[in-house]
C-alpha cells in the first residue's frame, strides 16, 4: 500500500496569491494513497524541508509530491531532503504550480482547479515511481585537447600542470595555430612568436603532454569520464621518431613551386617541408600532391639526403584508439573566404589582401623578410586603405551576422605599425564603428589616431577598382563629412570576418554537442557555464565558442582546463539513473532501438531462453549500458513490442499522468 505525502508551497505570495493552496492541499488529501497533505509558506526553506523530512519519517512515506515551483528549480533540493530522511530520492515528484500555473493565470478559481489537476497527475505518477539507484562510473584520468592553437596549448599546459596526462590532436603538421602566423600582438605590440613559441616548446617538452600532429579525430564513443576516441594519424611520409628536423631535405627538394600555406600562399615552399622554423614537432612532412616521387615514382632526393633514413614514401594513415575522461574542443577559427566579394576586387588584384595576409607580409619570417612590399610589384606602398567589417555584421548570405570582434583592434595595430615603420605612408581606415572594449584597448586605438595620425573615416567602402597604372581606386563614403571619397591607394587590406573551422561541425556531431547556426559551439549556459558544452565531459576553449582575441582565448583555455581538471580529479562520477532498460523476455532483437540511440548505448547478445513449451531457444536481445545511456527515450518509441522502457519516465507513469489530467 502506497503512503504518499503531498506538500503544497505558498512560495510567499507567488503561488498563494492566485492559487488557493489550502484548497489544493485539501483536494489532494483525498487522492488514493495520500496519507498526509500539508501546505507551507516556503517549502524550499530549511523548515519547509524539515516538514517533508519529518513527514517521511513519521508517516513512513513511500512517495512524496511537492506542489511548488518548476522541477528545474528545486527538484534536486527536495530529492536531497527525501534522501536525508531515508526515502529514495527518485520517489519525489514535483507538480509545477508556479511557473505553469499561478504565474500565468489570474483567476483564482480556475488556477486552483488547474493546480489540483497538476497535483493529481503528480500523485498518479508517484504511485508508479520506482526507487532508483544512481550508478557510478570511473573516470579515465587523461584529457584530450582537439586543436593545437594557443587555446589548446594553454589548456593542455594547465591540465598537465595539475598532474594529468593530456593529448593534443592537431590537424596541421605543427601546433601553434593562427597565433603562429601573427606578427605582433595588441595592445602591447610584442612579437607573437616570442610569446607563443616558448609555450609550444613547453608543451612538447612536458612529460604529461603528448602531441599528435598532422592527426584528426575520426570517431568519438562513450560518455563523460570514459570517452573512446579514434585518432587518424595522417601519413606524413616521414618517420617522426627518426626525423631530426635538420631541414636538409627541404633545401634539396627539387619541387620548389608549392604555395606556402603558412605564408597564406604569398610565397612558395618545397614539396617536403617544415611549416616554419619554430614548428613543433620540428619534423618534415611530404605533400603527396606535389612530391615527384609520390606522383611519378622518379626523384627520391629527400630519401637520399636524409642521413637518418626517416623518409618513407609507403607510409599509410594510421588509426589509434585512446581513452579519455574529458575532451576539450579548441578547433579555433579561419578568416572567411572572400571570393564572393567582387566589390573589393580581392580575386582580381594581388595588392588587395586580407589582414592575415598582411600579418605575413609584415613578418620578419614572411615572404619579404619583414619589409612591407606590394605583392604585385614588390614596391613600397605609400597609401594603404583598411576596410573594416568585410563579412562581419552582415545581413546578406555572403557574410556573417555577428561581429568578429578582433578586427578593430588588429587594424589599429596594423595601422600603427605601418605608420611607425614607414612614416611616409598614409593609412586610411574605413569603419562602421570602432569597438575597443578591453583593458588598454581604447587607449591603444586613440594612440593610433592621435599619435600616429591614422585617418579613421566612418563609412563603408563601396568599390575597389584596380587601375592600369597599378594603383587602386577606392571609392567610399565619409558618413560624418557626408561626402563621397576616391582614394588612390597602393594597397587595400580587408578585415575579413572570422568563422569556426570547417572541421568543427562534423566534430560536434561526433561529440554530440550543440552548435549555433554559425557553427560556433554552444556553451552549457551563456553566462554561468561559459566553457562547458551541454554534453557532460566536453569543454570549450577559444574561438570555437565565439570570436575571441588572444587574452580572452588564453583565459578561456585556462578556464576549460580548470573544468576538465575538476572532472579528472574525481575517481568516479554519479550516473543519471533515469535510463532506458530492456525487458529481455519481450525483446525481438530487431535493432530498431540501436538505430535511434544517439549514444551507441545499446548492444545485442544472444541469450538462451526457456520457452513456454519447455524447450530452450537462443534469442537475440538488447541490453542498455546505463553508464552510456543519457535517458532521451528515443528507443522506447522505436521498440514495437514495448520491451524498452525508461526509468523515471516509464510508459505507465506517463500514461498515469495523461489519465489524471484528462479525467
Amino acid at each position: 500500500m502506497q503512503r504518499i505525502g503531498v506538500f503544497v508551497c505558498h512560495c510567499g505570495t507567488n503561488i498563494a496569491a492566485t492559487v488557493d493552496v489550502k484548497a489544493v492541499a485539501e483536494a489532494l488529501g483525498h487522492e488514493p494513497g495520500v496519507v498526509i497533505s500539508r501546505e507551507y509558506q516556503y517549502m524550499c526553506s530549511e523548515s519547509g524541508q524539515n516538514l517533508v523530512k519529518d513527514a517521511i519519517r513519521e508517516h513512513n512515506l513511500t512517495g512524496v509530491v511537492i506542489c511548488s515551483c518548476s522541477p528545474r528549480m528545486h527538484e534536486n533540493t527536495f530529492r536531497k531532503a527525501a534522501a536525508a530522511a531515508g526515502l529514495n530520492p527518485y520517489l519525489v515528484e514535483i507538480a509545477n504550480i508556479r511557473e505553469q500555473c499561478s504565474w500565468i493565470h489570474k483567476d483564482i478559481a480556475s488556477a486552483t482547479e488547474k493546480a489540483v489537476i497538476l497535483g493529481k497527475a503528480a500523485v498518479a505518477k508517484v504511485h508508479l515511481n520506482a526507487p532508483l539507484i544512481a550508478g557510478e562510473s570511473p573516470v579515465v584520468k587523461r584529457a584530450l585537447v582537439i586543436g593545437g592553437g594557443i587555446a589548446g596549448i594553454q589548456t593542455a599546459l594547465d591540465i598537465a600542470e595539475a598532474g594529468f596526462d593530456v593529448d593534443i590532436v592537431e590537424k596541421q603538421p605543427t601546433i601553434g595555430g593562427k597565433m603562429a602566423q601573427i606578427d605582433k600582438t595588441f595592445p602591447t605590440l610584442d612579437c607573437a612568436a616570442c610569446i607563443l613559441t616558448p609555450k609550444m616548446v613547453e608543451a612538447s617538452q612536458n612529460e604529461k603532454i603528448h602531441i599528435y600532429s598532422f592527426s584528426e579525430v575520426t570517431d568519438v564513443k562513450g560518455f563523460v569520464g570514459n570517452f573512446t576516441v579514434t585518432i587518424k594519424r595522417k601519413a606524413r611520409y616521414v618517420d617522426e621518431t627518426k626525423c631530426t628536423g635538420c631541414g636538409l631535405c627541404t633545401e634539396k627538394c627539387p619541387m620548389k613551386k608549392v604555395p606556402n600555406e603558412f605564408n597564406m600562399g604569398l610565397d612558395n615552399r618545397t614539396a617536403i617541408y617544415i611549416p616554419f622554423a619554430q614548428a613543433v614537432p620540428k619534423v618534415a612532412t611530404i605533400d603527396p600532391n606535389y612530391c615527384m616521387m609520390m606522383k611519378t615514382g622518379k626523384c627520391g632526393v629527400c630519401s637520399k639526403v636524409c642521413s637518418v633514413g626517416a623518409i618513407d614514401y609507403k607510409q599509410e594513415d594510421k588509426f589509434i584508439e585512446e581513452k579519455y575522461g574529458a575532451i576539450v574542443v579548441a578547433t579555433g577559427f579561419n578568416p572567411i573566404n572572400l571570393d564572393k566579394y567582387d566589390e573589393f576586387a580581392y580575386n582580381q588584384c594581388a595588392d588587395v589582401v586580407t589582414s592575415l595576409e598582411l600579418e605575413r607580409l609584415m613578418n620578419a619570417a614572411g615572404p619579404n623578410g619583414g619589409t612591407l612590399l606590394r605583392p604585385s610589384d614588390k614596391t613600397h606602398p605609400h597609401t594603404i586603405v583598411f576596410v573594416q567589417c568585410v563579412g562581419s555584421r552582415c545581413d546578406d548570405e555572403k557574410g556573417k551576422p555577428y561581429c568578429s570582434k578582433i578586427c578593430c583592434m588588429y587594424t589599429a595595430k596594423h595601422a600603427m605599425l605601418i605608420r611607425e615603420k614607414y612614416p611616409d605612408t598614409e593609412v586610411y581606415v574605413f569603419y562602421i564603428d570602432v569597438r575597443t572594449p578591453g583593458k588598454n584597448f581604447d587607449e591603444f586605438y586613440r594612440r593610433a589616431v592621435e599619435q600616429y595620425n591614422v585617418h579613421y573615416i566612418k563609412g563603408m567602402v563601396g568599390k575597389v577598382t584596380p587601375k592600369s597604372d597599378g594603383k587602386i581606386d577606392v571609392q567610399a563614403s565619409d558618413l560624418i563629412a557626408n561626402e563621397q571619397l576616391h582614394i588612390n591607394a597602393d594597397m587595400v587590406v580587408l578585415a575579413a570576418a572570422i568563422e569556426p573551422d570547417k572541421t568543427a561541425r562534423p566534430l560536434a556531431t561526433m561529440l554530440t554537442t550543440q552548435m549555433d547556426t554559425n557553427d560556433f559551439f554552444t556553451e552549457a549556459h551563456p553566462k554561468l557555464r561559459p566553457v562547458e558544452s551541454a554534453t557532460a565531459g566536453i569543454f570549450l576553449s577559444g574561438a570555437c565558442q565565439g570570436p575571441k582575441d588572444i587574452p580572452e582565448t588564453v583565459a578561456q583555455g585556462s578556464a576549460a582546463a580548470a573544468k576538465a581538471i575538476g572532472l579528472l580529479c574525481k575517481n568516479s562520477i554519479t550516473c543519471n539513473p533515469c535510463v532506458a532498460h530492456s525487458n529481455e523476455l519481450m525483446c525481438n532483437g530487431c535493432s530498431a532501438c540501436e538505430k535511434v540511440c544517439p549514444y551507441g548505448a545499446i548492444t545485442y547478445q544472444d541469450k538462451e531462453f526457456r520457452m513456454p513449451d519447455r524447450t530452450t531457444a537462443i534469442r537475440r536481445v538488447a541490453s542498455v549500458n546505463p553508464a552510456v545511456c543519457q535517458g532521451c527515450g528515443a528507443c522506447t518509441v522505436a521498440c514495437p513490442s514495448g520491451a524498452m522502457d525508461l526509468n523515471g519516465f516509464s510508459n505507465s507513469q506517463i500514461m498515469a499522468e495523461v489519465d489524471a489530467i484528462c479525467k
Binding site: 511557473e99 504565474w103 527515450g633 528515443a634 495523461v658
Partner: protein
C-alpha cells in the same frame, strides 16, 4: 467541419514538453507572467522523442480535446537527434489521424526553445482557441470516458 456553438465548452489540452527546451520555455512564459489558458496541462518528458503515439491516443481516449507536442528546435536537441525522430514519427501519426478523418487542428507539434517563453504562451493560446472552435472530441473519444 462542426463548429461548436456552445461557448461554455472548455477543452482539455494535453501538452507534452521536452525537459530541456520546451518545458523551460513554458517556465519562462511563467517567469515573464505571460498568460495562456488554464486548459493547457503540461506533461514533462525528457525529450520529444519519448512521446509514444500511444500516449497521444491515450489522451484522446481519456477525454483530451487536443494534444500538442513541444520539443527543441531541430538541430538543438539536447540529445542531438531525438527531435529528428520525433518529427518523422509525429508527421506520420498526424497524417494517419487525418487519414482517418480526425480533425487536423486537434493535434499539433511546435518547436519551442528555452528562450521562447512568448512563443510558448502564444502557441498555447492559439492552439486552445483552435480546439475550442472544433468543440469536444467526438471522433476519437472513448464513450466510457466521456464526462457527464
Amino acid at each position: 467541419m462542426q463548429v461548436n456553438e456552445n461557448t461554455n465548452f472548455e477543452p482539455v489540452i494535453v501538452a507534452f514538453c521536452c525537459n530541456w527546451c520546451s518545458y523551460a520555455g513554458a517556465d519562462l512564459s511563467g517567469t515573464n507572467r505571460l498568460n495562456y489558458p488554464t486548459n493547457v496541462k503540461i506533461i514533462r518528458v525528457p525529450c520529444s522523442c519519448r512521446v509514444n503515439p500511444m500516449f497521444i491516443l491515450r489522451a484522446f481516449q481519456r477525454g483530451a480535446d487536443g494534444v500538442i507536442l513541444c520539443g527543441c528546435h531541430p538541430g538543438d536537441c539536447h540529445y542531438t537527434s531525438g527531435n529528428y525522430f520525433t518529427r518523422r514519427r509525429i508527421t506520420l501519426l498526424y497524417s494517419m489521424l487525418d487519414f482517418l478523418g480526425i480533425e487536423r487542428d486537434r493535434t499539433r507539434l511546435e518547436w519551442v526553445s528555452a528562450a521562447e517563453g512568448a512563443k510558448f504562451a502564444a502557441t498555447m493560446q492559439e492552439f486552445t482557441d483552435a480546439v475550442r472552435k472544433l468543440g469536444p472530441n467526438r471522433r476519437l473519444e472513448d464513450l466510457r470516458c466521456r464526462k457527464q
